[in-house]
């Protein structure tokens, strides 16, 4: 070891100062080279650094003197020499005493015959960084001290390199740490899903110094990669290759590094690509690709290396966690939101249901249903219409429409209820109390709608038939409607006049109303005023609701039936009670009548005697006459009452009805004559005898003929006709009694057979009731043919083979013939 001279120490000091300075490594090397060039008065001094790849030596720094410049293109020509030095880490000197000068001819642009060259290895114990070249365009001798000193300088430069490398390593570490920190920030950040994915790509490209990046994730459903986020400019030539690489990375789970995608293409710039998998528990669920590394000054630096690959993998691991967590969080949020929505929907349905339960009135139920659909706090449709099926007629009938007639009205209604925090059920009830749909344009139009259910194309009919909802967009769906469709006519008419001509954008939905067993109708909704699209969620909620609504409507209808039935039963019960009361009254009346009968017989009988004994023309005869008449009347009333209250005293025997009629007519012929009533008899001589109760049938004729006589107080024509006829294979006889008394007012016609009904102003009002009862008892019928303004025809029909058949035929042979029978004999 020789000690350095003061000058050498000074040079070394300069070099060390520069080496330890904060300048960029390239600048430091340049300065050092300049110091050396100056100190050794070289014509050229250059520092060649070793490069791993294709160009082993790169002129990193140089200093020129005396017009000599190194031609970088010829560096390759001395590669052998420099390589030897670098590999052996032994210096080479070519001076006048070395005798090798000619071997390096052509190294410099300006060739000289004589030159000297010193090649100093820049290396430490473990690594060779390059070669320091000193060139003299003349013969020169390198002394031992000089050689020793140059080696020392070389070592110092290697120290500079190592320092720089350590520094850059440290810097890289810091940047790695920074990137890890960045990625960890991503991991813990609560940013939005989309933002997070973008952040991942941005961090990846920044840390790797890439031009752009792409994040792909595997779609849960299709299992295919989908680009989630992309940054930077993306070379179009890369697209398909990029996808293929990402697919490969996803399946292998291993990163792929391509130094230059355009390697095989002449003239294309270098494009490097690095793709790394995003792993979760060893399985790839996505890829992160970066491309186009932003290099340093040299194009060689624009390719990603193993370091980059490692760095990106580290980051990807961290970010994969972050993405996974975020994805889980996203799912959780989504589920929570869904649950929230469901809870809201349930509470909405609950509230509406409460409102529905508050009433059993049909119209109100419909109103609440449609209001709930249109209310902002409810389902918020603009308009709702309800149609019910009429199974008997196989038609769909409009029941109610709720919705404003115009946008202004819509705004007013909505404004009124904005911000109110009452329970929805209360709002619904109060709204339904305050606003009636009746009279609105929509309601009127809906109520006019009546569509046959078998009409093929009609959406409403199809909704009922196919029992599924339809969400129709006139612009999107092909909707064919019948030309004469009432719905089209009614609802679309409103559309055309109100929607400012833009019929094409009209959207509506038809949802079936389900009852317990089948579809009972359709609800149609639209967003006529605000044009909000109807979503599948809307339809789903509406469907849930219409199931409830359908049941409510059905319940209401059933309830109505029940109520009607109840009313009818109540009526029937009242009638029964009334009849019982009447029966009781009748019995009482009968027993009273019975007690009165005997005295009446006495009064009447004695008066008749008295009457006969009085001389004709005697004034007192008028008194007895009055008494007789009044007694007759009383007896008549008594007979009526007794007849009506007692039906068990019927004895059937065969009688000639013509004869009974003749007898009855004879009984009243004086009165008929005195009233100027003309009698026209048309009695069929071949009329068969029929089984009947003589007294009862006579009573029927008395009542009918008396009535006829009474309504013709001012005269008229009484027509009595008998005839046999057949009906449904049974033989009957008919008795027709016609008057010209002006007929019965039609409003009381239905009452005439009711007991105690009378238009005469006298009598018991039992006459026709008794007739009815008697004819019924004979299995016959009594019909009335009213000709208002003219007269009435009563027709009594009695069966030839009647109820009394067995009685008449089973009569004991030794039975004594009755009076009536004997009268005929």
């Amino acid at each position: 070891m020789s000690s350095f001279t003061q000058r050498e120490c000074k040079i070394l000091g300069k070099i060390i100062r520069v080496s330890n300075s904060t300048l960029e490594i390239d600048d430091r090397l340049t300065r050092i080279v300049e110091i050396i060039a100056e100190a050794f008065s070289t014509h050229f001094c250059g520092l060649y650094t070793l490069h791993k790849d294709k160009n082993p030596f790169i002129l990193t720094a140089s200093s020129h003197h005396n017009g000599i410049e190194a031609d970088s293109s010829v560096i390759s020509r001395w590669e052998g020499l420099m390589g030897k030095v670098a590999q052996s880490r032994q210096p080479s000197f070519f001076g006048e005493d070395d005798g090798t000068g000619g071997n390096v001819k052509g190294m410099m642009s300006k060739e000289t015959a004589a030159f000297s060259l010193a090649l100093i290895p820049i290396a430490d114990d473990s690594f060779s960084y390059g070669v320091l070249l000193l060139y003299y365009a003349q013969s020169r001798r390198f002394g031992d001290d000089e050689r020793e000193f140059l080696l020392t300088v070389g070592r110092e430069i290697s120290g500079t390199f190592r320092n720089a490398q350590l520094f850059s390593e440290a810097k890289r570490r810091i940047s790695e740490l920074t990137s890890l920190y960045d990625s960890s920030r991503i991991v813990t950040s609560t940013t939005e899903w989309k933002d997070l994915l973008e952040l991942v790509v941005r961090t990846g490209t920044r840390v790797l110094g890439a031009n752009g990046g792409t994040l792909r994730l595997k779609d849960g459903k299709t299992q295919k990669l989908r680009i989630e986020s992309q940054l930077g400019t993306y070379p179009q030539s890369l697209v398909s290759l990029d996808d293929e690489i990402a697919k490969g990375v996803l399946s292998t789970g291993q990163p792929t590094l391509i130094g230059d995608v355009n390697q095989k293409r002449e003239g294309e710039p270098l494009l490097s690509l690095l793709c790394t998998p995003l792993l979760s528990r060893g399985r790839a669920f996505g890829t992160l690709t970066v491309y186009g590394k932003k290099g340093g000054k040299l194009p060689q630096n624009n390719a990603f290396g193993r370091e980059d690959e490692r760095l990106l993998s580290i980051m990807a691991d961290q970010m994969a966690n972050a993405i996974e967590n975020a994805s889980a969080r996203l799912n959780a949020t989504r589920i929570a939101e869904e649950k929230d929505l469901q809870a809201n929907q349930l509470s909405l349905l609950y509230e509406i249901n409460n409102a529905l339960l508050s009433t059993m009135k049909f119209e109100q139920i419909l109103h609440i249903i449609l209001t709930a659909i249109t209310l902002g706090d409810g389902m918020g449709f603009n308009r709702a219409m309800l149609f019910l099926t009429d199974e008997r007629k196989n038609r769909l009938t409009g029941m109610m429409g709720v919705g404003p007639d115009n946008a202004q009205q819509a705004g007013n209604i909505w404004k009124n209820f904005e911000g109110k925090r009452d329970k929805l059920s209360e709002i619904l009830s109060s709204l339904c109390d305050r606003y009636s749909p009746t009279g609105t344009l929509l309601d009127e139009r809906v109520r006019r709608v009546n569509i046959p259910l078998d009409r093929g194309e009609c959406i409403l009919a199809r909704t009922v038939r196919e029992q599924k909802p339809f969400n129709i967009d006139y612009g999107r769906d092909r909707v064919t409607c019948q030309k004469d469709c009432e719905l089209n006519k009614e609802i679309n008419c409103v559309l055309r006049t109100n929607s400012e001509g833009d019929i094409k954008s009209y959207r509506f939905a038809a949802v079936p109303l389900w009852g317990r067993e089948s579809t009972i109708g359709v609800i149609v909704v639209d967003n006529f005023y605000n044009g909000r699209p109807i979503t599948d969620d809307d339809i789903q909620l509406l469907t849930m609701f219409t199931r409830q609504a359908g049941l409510a409507i059905e319940n209401c209808i059933l309830y109505k039936y029940l109520e009607d039935a109840h009313v009818e039963l109540k009526k029937a019960q009242e009638t029964l009670l009334e009849r019982e009361k009447l029966a009781a009254l009748g019995e009482m009346a009968a027993s009273v009548a019975h007690e009165i009968k005997n005295p009446l017989v006495s009064i009447g009988g004695y008066t008749r005697r008295l009457h006969r004994k009085l001389d004709n023309g005697l004034y007192e005869k008028r008194y007895t006459d009055a008494i007789i008449k009044e007694v007759d009347r009383l007896e008549g009333i008594l007979n009526d009452i007794l007849h009506f209250s007692n039906t068990s005293n019927v004895v059937f025997e065969k009688f000639d009805v013509n004869r009974i009629i003749e007898e009855t007519l004879t009984g009243i012929e004086d009165e008929l004559r005195s009233q100027g009533i003309e009698v026209e008899k048309s009695l069929d001589g071949n009329l068969p005898q029929i089984p009947c109760d003589y007294q009862e049938i006579k009573q029927v004729f008395i009542n009918l003929l008396t009535n006829a006589k009474d309504v013709m107080g001012g005269g008229g024509r009484l027509t009595v006709k008998t005839f046999p006829f057949s009906q449904e294979d049974r033989d009957y006889i008919g008795i027709e009694i016609r008057d010209t008394g002006g007929g019965i007012p039609s409003e009381v016609l239905h009452n005439i057979f009711n007991p105690f009904f009378t238009t005469k102003g006298w009598g018991t009002g039992l006459g026709l009731a008794i007739c009815h009862r008697i004819v019924d008892g004979h299995l016959g019928a009594i019909e009335v043919n009213n000709d208002p303004g003219r007269g009435v025809t009563f027709t009594v029909k009695l069966p030839v083979e009647g109820r009394g058949q067995w009685l008449t035929s089973s009569k004991a042979s030794n039975r004594t013939p009755s009076l009536a029978k004997r009268q005929r004999e």
Binding site: H594, K597, S602, D632, N649, S818, L819
Partner: protein, 123 residues
């Protein structure tokens, strides 16, 4: 004597006014009339009076008309009997068929007189 030729009618009724009315009316028609206020008396008078015909009120205290009719039939099977009633309350009772006529009481005795005439003219 006109009386020897006259038919005899026994009127049975619990009401005196009715009995008297029937008696007066029927005597005017040329019959010999006796009266009985109840069934027992009627049965007693059958032998004493020997009527050709009996009018019998159905509703009477004690032995009613139907019962009386049965007893009459026991002793005089062929004696014509007319049942009289305020209303046809026993009409369906088969025992009333044992009578020869059934007349509903009214103040107008035409029907009753007709029935009597018919029954008596048969002999």
């Amino acid at each position: 004597m006109r009386g020897a030729m006259m038919k005899k009618i026994l009127v049975v009724d619990d009401e005196e006014n009715i009995r008297f009315l029937y008696q007066e009316e029927l005597e005017e028609e040329g019959y010999t009339v006796d009266v009985a206020a109840h069934g027992q008396e009627a049965l007693e008078k059958l032998n004493a009076f020997q009527p050709d015909l009996v009018t019998l009120d159905i509703r009477m205290p004690g032995m009613d008309g139907v019962e009386t009719l049965r007893k009459i039939r026991e002793v005089q099977r062929d004696l014509p009997v007319i049942l009289c009633s305020a209303f046809g309350e026993y009409k369906q009772d088969l025992t009333t068929w044992a009578s020869d006529a059934y007349v509903i009481k009214t103040s107008d005795l035409t029907e009753l007189k007709g029935a009597i005439k018919t029954l008596l003219s048969k002999d």
